[in-house]
């Protein structure tokens, strides 16, 4: 059985020969750590990205079958993006940087993964109309026609992994432009329509991007949204506001995919997602990912109990076990066996593997998971 068949069968409740060893990538600091420990070649510790050549090299070295977040798509963000600009260097070396989304961040020396949000440009209608709206328009430049002409032959047919089409982000990208606080203020701006206008403008552009790629004949196994709009207590906005402003945009893109025969649509959202799941599922998003068990205490089973077999999942393996010992990994494998028996579920570490993750334990997990026959 191929990896692609295995994934599609699992998510359609059909038999498979074994479970796949699926992952969701790494913190850059972990790859540096592993290179320093001599576990991986130094060149694999730099330039890693979901589904790129280095990712697939690491898959071979570790024993993974594939990264679930292996998606392809056109330029679906701000275009052209803002030029990254260092605005100020503080005495401790911290840089205030305007990033490609127009968000101003503090980049602390020695910290790669997580910048600190400091300020943002998109504060009112004038900023939207002059700075952002022109960058949120669909144009042919967003679609690399040459790439999509060759994609089926050179990518889809060549790789034995389930491949996703990027469906962009209804809200997550906008949050990245303005920060969590800025997004909250925009929702309650005196110009009550502004937040909805931003969402609608951005969504229209992303829809047309997806449509253009599908019209070009590119083939995919699933669609994939990215959001990250929840935290440990739930969503970063009211589910009612989310339903009112965002639901239709998920539906439109999911309906489009189904027209092209793609019925699996996953959505990457960190945190406790329970209060948004109904909106996602009702509008066509049927795969929860990565279902963060370790950090936030999220679980797959409650969603399955709530929605039945309509609700699929990828993730929910507590990645923190991979920093502990074999016994912790074995316990996690046992828990996974129970989840897999529900069907429509592919286990995968519940987020990027973080510093301190033990290389040998990851290899052990990848080997053992492949021995499970659902």
């Amino acid at each position: 059985m191929t990896n692609r068949e295995r994934a599609l069968n699992l998510l359609h409740f059909k038999p498979v020969d074994r479970l796949p060893a699926v992952h969701f990538g790494y913190w850059p600091e972990l790859l540096v750590e592993w290179a320093e420990q001599g576990k991986i070649p130094a060149e694999l510790s730099r330039g890693w990205g979901d589904g790129n050549d280095k990712d697939m090299e690491l898959d071979k070295l570790i024993g993974w079958d594939y990264n679930w977040s292996h998606v392809h798509g056109p330029v679906m963000g701000l275009f052209p993006a803002f030029e990254k600009t260092v605005l100020e260097v503080l005495p401790d070396g911290t840089q205030r940087v305007q990033n490609s989304s127009g968000l101003i961040e503090r980049m602390h020396p020695g910290v790669v993964s997580i910048p600190q949000e400091d300020d943002y440009l998109l504060k009112d209608r004038e900023a939207f109309e002059t700075l952002y709206k022109p960058k949120m328009q669909f144009s042919a430049d967003r679609i690399d026609t040459e790439y999509w002409k060759k994609y089926n032959e050179e990518v889809y047919d060549k790789l034995d992994v389930p491949l996703g089409i990027s469906l962009g982000s209804v809200l997550g990208d906008i949050r990245n432009m303005v920060s969590v606080i800025g997004m909250s203020y925009l929702m309650y701006d005196e110009d009550e329509d502004l937040f909805a206008d931003i969402i609608d403008t951005y969504a229209e552009m992303q829809y047309r991007c997806v449509e253009a790629v599908l019209e070009a004949g590119a083939r995919f196994d699933f669609g994939h949204f990215w959001e990250d709009i929840c935290f440990n207590s739930g969503p970063l906005l009211s589910p009612a506001v989310f339903e009112e402003l965002c639901a239709r945009h998920y539906k439109r893109r999911c309906d489009l995919l189904r027209k092209y025969g793609i019925d699996l649509i996953s959505l990457d959202c960190d945190g406790v997602t329970e209060k948004l799941q109904q909106t996602w599922l009702d509008n066509g998003v049927n795969i929860l990912f990565p279902i963060e068990v370790g950090t936030w205490g999220d679980q797959f089973e409650p969603a399955r109990n709530r929605f039945g077999t309509r609700q699929l999942g990828v993730g929910a393996m507590d990645k923190t076990a991979l920093r502990k010992d074999k016994a912790a990994v074995d316990a996690e494998l046992e828990r996974i066996r129970r989840m897999v028996s529900l069907g429509g579920f592919i286990p995968c570490p519940d987020h990027r593997l973080m510093p301190g993750t033990k290389f040998e334990l990851v290899q052990y997990y990848a080997d053992e998971i492949k021995k499970i026959r659902p």
Partner: protein
Amino acid sequence: MSVFEEISEKLQRGKAKDVAALVTAALEAGEKPEAVLNEGLIAGMNIVGEKFKKAEVFVPEVLVAARAMNAGLKVLQPALKSAGVKPVGKAVICTVKGDMHDIGKNLVKMMIEGQGIECIDLGVDVDPEKVVNAVKESGAELVCLSALLTTTMTAQRDVIEALKEAGIRDQVKVMVGGAPVTQQYADEIGADCYTLDAASAAQAARSFFAA
């Protein structure tokens, strides 16, 4: 509806300009600044906090309410000072060493300030020594430590140890929070309090100062 109820109502809806105008009007009408603070602004934030705990409102509503609270406080502050009204207490708050996340910390800060407690915000990625110095300089009686990562939550213990070494552990209550933090972990590292969300943190902070 009394002016205090109006202030509370507008604050809950995040109407910063209205809150500022109502506070001005209340003061001009001869209401005592302390009453405007307690029965208007803090009462409003308490309702927001309760609703947040019950998932009746979410982060944006808390943030805009806090913004409205600050707008009201800005108007009220000079009157409070003239009347000799002191803050309920002082707290030092930060995200611990190695951790850059500040959304949770900022939420807790806003909610704690909404209880009339003065907050000294040390920011993110903060050394234990900086916390010790801030406590010594400000005389704060509460230290609030945030961590979002399993890799950085251990730094909460480092701060508690640094407070012990400096001989000031008994002078302060230490509150810890953040996604990976649990009551069990808080007990293990010797923290005085763990709360699940920002609203509970604010209530706990208020109870420390009321005790």
